[in-house]
């Protein structure tokens, strides 16, 4: 069995696709068949997880560490370009595979409860299954084009699910924004693929990475351009500066979607891509600095915005952007294992936070719905004191909060610490990395602060939901709390997969990823820190986390909050943060509006209406009509005129002939 398990990996990919086909058909034929939809929708994911786990177990038991590549058929045989539809199971894709199918399964189960009363139930699961199919294609693709298909596919599903409740314009707009912003990044990915093929003659991962060190000059312009274009793709998909603005708006989708696509899996695709192309990035130190610096700045920038958001999901969205920045610091530093480690632990605790917020919103929504009130169910100013009503959710979200803040021994502590340590270690070669480390540490302080703020305002202090609503606040059914408990366990234990040697751990994930990262690590300068410095760094991280949490508890007064309806607008710096540094307004002013103006006034009203329609289409018709009018003037209908012309003509011909 173990020997054949990897060869069945295609089933893990095809099962969600089959689930999509069945659910999409049901969505048209019988939208009310909730039981069938639930069984199919969740079943295919659990099946995919089982196949993935079996394949990964077989990979772990394999005698050599070579990646297992399956070629199914030739897709694009064009001259030198040979692209196969091929899947590649190696130690990196195995981690992603388990995260996607594992966390994905839990979120699918949660969705059964969360979406129970939605009329688009079958359509929802169809989209969700399709998303998992494309995500697995992205993760398992053995060459850039197959990965790109997955990359585009998850973007499509993201668009469909953000605009899932498309009846409201704001949701449809958010979907469009996500799609268009991602296109900018995808353009960079495409250019990078063209460059890679031009300079290495292949698009297959194995061949490109084997040839790259020989064909591309280390630190040269070519490899720097390739990696920067790849990173442009990552900034779109993984919501980094300057293309991060779509992710907070993506919270218009159903909350489990935010958990699965916009926190745990899809948005980490950029991190996976950088880790996958680690050799290329190792050849371009300038690009690595750009990646890590962008990540660090994004981490801090997004954290400042999260400080002043009132929508519970928006806080988490900016937190996701911030944590993705951390992952890019990790993979940018060349510590791919650290980046992937944080990706994994983040998938656990951020999925938990999102599903927890989903549970809160579910309760709030029901309370307002039952009492026919029209208040914002996601505004933290309308919450407060919910720990009495949702004890399980409150406890589990506290675990996730401590984890994301970096409190030992929870998952986030190990992964965040490893990233910061790696950045610090590289500072010995270039002081720039000390700056990146400092930015990361500052972001950690803010992370601890805004997450504690979220918890205090949501679950503590007096309840602000409203007197009649309070009786309707209930904990979610077991189908929703069950996945929360499992994710809580993963959040507590997830860090143990990579305990550093400093704490007498085996750094298991590090060893596991070594076959994939070895090539890149060999190209990078070795950074070694003494145990003393490492202990100081750990202590600094823990102190910063503690400072953030204690600071929030001391400074914030949940009792002084008033419900959203009676709140007075902020002023000064608070308003600046609440308005997200006016970045959306800035983009609107310098990009969207000039573009809209150019399109409307120049391209449409001038070039299209005046030139194409006016000169081209109507103009040629007008010329023909004028010529016809002139010609018709000759036709007087008077026989005399005809004869006169005839006579003149005959005389002219005769004169010419007789001359």
């Amino acid at each position: 069995m173990a020997a054949t398990a990897p060869s069945l990996i295609w089933l893990a990919v095809v099962l969600p696709l089959a689930g999509f086909v069945v659910n999409a058909t049901l969505a048209f034929v019988r939208p009310g068949a909730r039981t069938v939809v639930s069984v199919v929708g969740v079943g295919v994911l659990v099946g995919a997880f089982a196949f993935s786990a079996a394949a990964c177990a077989a990979l772990a038991g394999a005698p050599d560490a070579a990646p297992i590549v399956f070629r199914y058929w030739t897709w694009m045989p064009v001259g030198d370009l040979q692209v196969d539809v091929a899947l590649r199971l190696d130690h990196l894709s195995a981690v992603m595979l388990l995260v996607v199918t594992g966390v994905g399964s839990l979120i699918h189960v949660f969705s059964v409860g969360y979406m129970r009363e939605d009329p688009g139930y079958a359509r929802y699961f169809a989209y969700l299954n399709l998303f998992v199919f494309f995500m697995l294609l992205l993760v398992l693709g053995a060459n850039f084009p197959v990965m790109f298909v997955g990359w585009e596919g998850v973007g499509l599903c993201s668009y469909l699910l953000i605009g899932f409740w498309f009846g409201e314009k704001v949701n449809a707009d958010a979907g469009k924004k996500a799609f268009i912003v991602n296109r900018i990044g995808d353009c960079g990915f495409l250019v990078a693929m063209f460059l890679i093929f031009r300079h290495t003659g292949s698009l297959d991962f194995a061949e490109v990475f084997a040839r790259a060190p020989g064909l591309l000059a280390a630190g040269g312009a070519t490899v720097t351009a390739i990696t920067l274009f790849l990173f442009l793709g990552c900034t779109g998909k993984s919501a980094q500066i300057p293309l991060y603005t779509w992710l907070p708006d993506a919270m218009q989708g159903p909350t489990p979607v935010s958990a699965l696509i916009h926190a745990a899996t899809m948005v980490t695709a950029g991190v996976y891509l950088v880790a996958r192309c680690g050799i290329l990035f190792a050849l371009a130190p300038a690009s690595q600095a750009v990646v890590a610096m962008t990540g660090a700045v994004t981490a801090l920038f997004a954290a400042t915005i999260a400080l002043k958001q009132w929508d519970i999901k928006r806080v988490l969205a900016y937190s996701t952007v911030s944590q993705l920045g951390y992952m890019f610091v990790g993979v940018g530093t060349g510590a791919a294992a650290a980046g992937i480690f944080h990706l994994t632990t983040h998938a656990f605790f951020k999925a938990l936070l999102f599903l927890g917020s989903g549970s809160v919103i579910h309760a709030m929504h029901h309370a307002y719905h039952a009492t026919h009130a029209h208040e914002d169910a996601q505004d933290m100013r309308n919450m407060g004191g919910l720990r009495h009503h949702l004890p399980w959710t409150a406890a589990l979200m506290w675990i996730a909060t401590l984890a994301i803040a970096g409190v030992p021994p929870l998952a986030g502590f190990f992964s965040k610490d490893e990233i910061l340590t790696a950045a610090f270690a590289r500072g010995a070669h270039d002081p720039l990395w000390y700056g990146i480390w400092a930015l990361g540490l500052a972001a950690a302080l803010l992370t601890a602060f805004y997450m504690t703020r979220l918890m205090l305002y949501t679950f503590h202090g007096p309840n602000r939901t409203g007197e009649p609503q309070r009786a309707h606040l209930h904990e979610a059914p077991w189908v929703m709390t069950g996945p929360l408990v499992l994710l809580g366990a993963l959040t507590v234990l997830g860090g143990l997969i990579n305990v550093p040697p400093l704490l007498h751990g085996g750094a298991w994930l590090h060893e596991w990823l070594a076959p994939v990262t070895a090539g890149a690590t060999a190209l990078l300068p070795a950074g070694h820190l003494s145990h003393t410095i490492e202990w100081v760094l750990v202590l600094a991280a823990v102190l910063v986390a503690a400072a953030g949490i204690v600071g929030a508890v001391v400074l914030l007064k949940p009792g002084a909050l008033v419900p959203a309806r009676q709140a007075v607008p902020e002023t000064g710096l608070g308003r600046l943060l609440w308005k997200k540094w006016y970045v959306d307004e800035l983009y609107d002013a310098i990009i969207v509006r000039p573009l809209a103006w150019l399109s409307r006034r120049v391209l449409w009203e001038t070039i299209d209406v005046r030139v194409v329609d006016g000169l081209g289409v109507n103009g040629s018709a007008r010329v023909a009509r004028a010529a016809g009018w002139l010609g018709s003037r000759l036709q007087t209908g008077q026989v005399g005129v005809y004869v006169a012309v005839f006579v003149v003509g005959v005389l002219a011909i005769l004169t010419a002939a007789l001359r």
Partner: protein, 98 residues
């Protein structure tokens, strides 16, 4: 023998015919002017027959035959136009005006 004066007469007749067609408005008159031109040409043929032989005489008969047929058709058309429009003034008949 008298070739020159005959050609001059036929030229004068032909020019009169052309002038009539160009200047007159009555369809019947124009028709008669056309006949005049045909006969001017006939005169030319006959006059030139003494130089080029009997072919000139033969051609005159052809022209007469065609002129007879043309007269029949042409008068019929003029008659039909008159029945339709109560007029044979060509200024009134401009159906082909663009």
């Amino acid at each position: 023998m008298l070739l020159g004066p005959a050609l001059v007469v036929s030229a004068v007749l032909f020019t009169l015919g052309v002038a009539g067609v160009l200047l007159r408005r009555n369809a019947i008159v124009i028709f008669m002017c056309v006949e005049l031109m045909l006969n001017a040409v006939n005169l030319t043929f006959v006059a030139l027959a003494q130089r080029i032989g009997v072919a000139g005489h033969v051609f005159v008969f052809f022209v007469m035959a065609v002129a007879a047929a043309e007269a029949a058709v042409g008068l019929a058309i003029i008659l039909a136009v008159f029945r339709h429009r109560e007029s044979v003034d060509l200024r009134d008949i401009d159906l082909l005006k663009g």
